[in-house]
Symmetry: C2
Subunit: 345 residues, 2 copies
């Protein structure tokens, strides 16, 4: 098959998601700044995958430090590395969660000898990766209970193996249902401007042999109104404690259309996607990306010069539009404030 990201003795290896589905190219990163650049430029994307990449980036940054570094300089360098990682993308909270977790581990082991620090920092990054796959499988197992036989499921963007450590959140739920023998099929929004649905999700589903139908984003409402969609399952980039969900641009619109057509709307995300520091979605920063993503498809121009462009990469779906949030710790429903609160450590 393929892998999204892998720790190797030579560095961090990632499939270049910008080139899919045309080319399957893996890059090897040996410098944490290159990992940061890869996140920023979307070689790797998807909230959980970004978290894993940041952790591995930090690990490789620490690994490359000179063995005779003083504790003081080590701490300085470590903070610097973390800050570079932090600056890559603003919306997915898994990034900050992973950085915080690496920080915690660093301060736990900081007094040990440097060889041991390196070892434990690398172990922690690998553990974040392994845990993510485990959480995905658990979420899939739990979430597939919500999926009925013969259902047609709509998904948006890519919340699959490519967006995570290797199994998927929303796609994890879908593939678990498929593995349990449910005869499902999937409608995939192409997800402009970056086309994660067309390029990545349909590529994953074709590889898995799950029946997939690609549509443009503006067709989803039409198929809902025709009764051809039984539920919506999407991932998340950040969840507020009131249950509001930031996810790929267009998710909010799908939630409104699902509500209008009485279709269940599910979000699948690990607990690491919950930002326990914010009360509502209005506090989530929305990344504005380059105009070129809208005006060009690859090198091809599709808009006239002189037109203004907006390119928000995410939107916020109010919790009132969400039927359930599927996590590795169970299915969350209204009242979200209380049920999310229970997950707080």
């Amino acid at each position: 098959m393929f892998y999204t990201i892998k720790w190797t003795d030579d560095g961090v290896s990632m499939i270049d998601q910008r080139l899919l589905p045309e080319e399957e190219v893996y890059h090897l990163y040996k410098d944490y700044r290159d990992v940061a650049k890869a996140i920023k430029e979307m070689v790797i994307r998807g909230a959980p995958a970004i978290g894993i990449a940041a952790a591995m980036g930090i690990a490789i940054g620490v690994e490359k430090l000179s063995d005779d570094i003083s504790k003081e300089d080590l701490e300085k360098e470590f903070i610097k590395i973390c800050n570079v990682m932090k600056e890559t993308r603003p919306t997915a909270v898994n990034l900050f969660w992973a950085i915080e977790r690496m920080k915690k581990k660093f301060y736990d082991v900081m007094e040990k000898d440097f060889k041991e620090i390196k070892k434990q920092i690398i172990e922690e990054a690998k553990k974040i990766h392994e845990e993510d796959i485990f959480c995905n499988r658990k979420m899939g197992h739990i979430g597939q209970l919500l999926i009925k036989d013969n259902w047609t499921i709509l998904t948006h963007c890519n919340a699959g193996a490519l967006a995570t450590g290797g199994y998927g959140t929303a796609i994890g739920v879908i593939r678990a249902a498929w593995e349990y023998g449910k005869k499902i099929r999937v409608f995939v929004d192409e997800t402009r401007p970056y086309l994660q649905g067309a390029r990545l999700t349909s590529w994953e589903l074709v590889k898995l042999g799950i029946p997939a139908t690609l549509i443009t984003d503006n067709m989803a409402g039409y198929f809902m109104s025709k009764g051809e969609i039984d539920c919506v399952v999407v991932g998340a980039d950040r969840i507020a404690t009131n249950g509001d969900v930031a996810n790929k641009i267009g998710t909010y619109s799908l939630s409104v259309l699902a509500k209008e057509n009485n279709i269940p709307f599910f979000v699948a995300a690990p607990v690491s996607t919950i930002d326990f520091n914010i009360k509502s979605g209005s506090e989530i920063p929305i990344e504005e990306r380059d105009r070129r993503e809208v005006t060009h498809i690859k090198e091809r121009v599709i808009a006239p010069e002189g037109v203004d462009v907006k390119n928000p990469a995410f939107d916020v779906t109010p919790s009132s539009n969400i039927t359930a949030i599927i996590t590795e710790k169970g299915i969350l429903k209204y009242p979200y404030e209380i049920n999310i609160g229970k997950l707080r450590n």
Copy 2:
């Protein structure tokens, strides 16, 4: 500037809308079958423009007939030409309306000598064109009354000069408001898969100097929820007598999002877009177009092989989601059944 379609002594001239905004290329068609092909392949598109093209195609078909044709053969050939035009695209009713009008004219003049028949058939096609521009200007004049100063207007697809005889329906309303000195700005949905918004509407608005912001289709809901959109104005491909509107895929979704966010939703279309033979939108045939429009952008592939594709070109917006329908005969509001009925000849 540019023109969409023009009758010339040498044939029917059209700008190739498939090549915009990169290239401004005009084609000259001297055979009615080539005009039909141009409609089918979307060299020209937009409900009113399709009607004009069909009328001109019929005119050129008749013009090219041999002068010594018998009345019987003339009628046969005329019907054949009309049938070829009818088979081009199924959803826009203006096509069938224009064909019917040409038929009526043909039978009115059929007994005259052939030179006179040719002249009158050509005149009728040119009249349909001129009347369309006149209706657009009138619609603009009437419709701009609904647009307030400083409003931001969202539009979808292209209902501009390129979709009509030369002024525009939805864009006609917008440019009339602009000509009346209202400080408006326009958000343009790119309108996948064919990108009429990105390629055509933003190109027209840039040429007109009206501030335009291009977004992907899935961003519209986000900007509505942020309070950045004051109204939606779209065109129509067919209107049922209960006020249901078939228009470019994605229009239905915008209407639901506008309703959710208490934003007025306007449709601008000439009376020729009303199909007085159907009671509701469910009777409107929805054209399914080629999968390649979704899987490729120009020659560039954006989806994996093996994925299924759906490509409905239109959807139906229920009249309950429509604040008003702007026509050249006035503004229609609820109850549509009664108010549309009054327009029946």
